[in-house]
């Protein structure tokens, strides 16, 4: 009879272990804290973009003072960066408005999906449409129209292209940092469901 009691206890213990092994650890709060951290990665991209815009808006009008580059180019460049800043603000606003500790996961996932889509659309369609004409124009302004004497314009053009490639690489790094952070948030929500 006593042995039966211990056997019963073993069975009960096995039931307990079996029930627990089927469980997943739930941490809603932990997930939300992680999402908050990911949001800071998204925001760092936005801050970087605003800093670049501010530098351009200060630098290009200054270049106009010595009449080396045309006023039209300065205005076009400033307009381009302002449009980029406005678009950044527009794309980031729903993410900024999110409260990661309060909003439901469906809303968060929807906002992140929209953010990622808009960010990618901006990269694949708008960026080439803006950058390629601007790059041609900047080469014309700096390498061909105002090239220093004795300097081959093609050499200047190459140097400008290298500069644009470096700038582009930095831009792509920040772009994918934001997009990957959004994707990570979506994956975490999906795993939790």
């Amino acid at each position: 009879m006593e042995e039966m009691n211990f056997e019963e206890m073993r069975n009960q213990f096995a039931i307990l272990k079996d029930q627990l092994n089927k469980q997943e650890i739930i941490s809603d709060h932990l997930l939300r804290e992680t999402m908050k951290a990911k949001k800071s990665a998204i925001n760092s991209t936005k801050r970087m973009e605003y800093i670049c815009v501010a530098i351009c808006l200060v630098l290009y009008p200054l270049l106009g003072f010595d009449n080396t580059i045309s006023l039209a180019f300065i205005i076009a460049t400033c307009l381009m960066v302002i449009v980029s800043a406005v678009a950044t603000h527009y794309i980031h606003k729903p993410v900024d408005d999110l409260n990661f500790m309060r909003d439901d996961f469906t809303t968060v996932a929807r906002v992140m999906a929209k953010f990622k889509k808009q960010y990618n659309q901006w990269l694949y369609y708008v960026t080439p449409a803006l950058i390629i004409p601007w790059l041609c124009w900047v080469c014309y302004e700096f390498a061909w129209k105002n090239a220093p004497e004795g300097v081959n314009p093609w050499f200047m053009t190459s140097a400008l292209i290298v500069g644009v490639i470096i700038g582009g690489a930095i831009g792509l790094y920040y772009h994918f940092k934001a997009v990957n952070a959004a994707q990570d948030i979506m994956n975490q929500i999906e795993e939790n469901e």
Partner: protein, 157 residues
């Protein structure tokens, strides 16, 4: 750091039932189980660097979980900000057949003293006397003697 966190998360996933079982047997309600569970994970995270792999990881986990539970009264005095981390099961309130069985076990083990409770749990877990001794700081022979006495005591309950 991220790699270490992932390794720890994997460790917790593998041993969650052991940790939860210990916490459950030392608690009187669901909130207390969850508090102990979180506290054990915090202690494991704090101590994982000092784990020297001289003993089995399961032995170390048992030791951390038991120490956490045994020291719960002292810990209660220092309220720590915790991250809600739990499992979606409530053996205290669920009324299905399995939960009823688990509750019966909880009641039986709950009648024992704290150290005896720990010994019985490890015995039920199927741990050897050597392993139990390593967790509790007892010789295997001592473990055998204590378990015999506990069993005798339980027969009378």
């Amino acid at each position: 750091m991220k790699q270490q966190e992932e390794k720890f998360a994997q460790l917790v996933r593998e041993h969650k039932s052991t940790i939860y079982t210990v916490c459950y047997m030392f608690s009187h309600d669901e909130d207390e189980v969850n508090d102990l569970f979180q506290e054990t994970l915090i202690n494991m995270w704090k101590g994982i660097d000092s784990f020297r792999e001289e003993s089995k990881i399961s032995t170390w986990i048992y030791r951390v979980a038991l120490n956490t539970c045994l020291l719960q009264e002292r810990k209660k005095k220092r309220e720590v900000k915790k991250v809600p981390l739990t499992m979606d099961v409530n053996f205290f309130e669920d009324n299905d057949a399995n939960s009823t069985q688990v509750r019966m076990l909880h009641q039986r083990i709950g009648k024992l003293g704290l150290v005896d409770r720990a010994l019985v749990m490890m015995w039920l877990e199927g741990m050897s006397y050597d392993e139990i001794g390593a967790v509790m700081g007892l010789t295997p022979k001592n473990v055998g003697v204590k378990l015999f006495r506990i069993k005798e005591q339980m027969k009378k309950m």
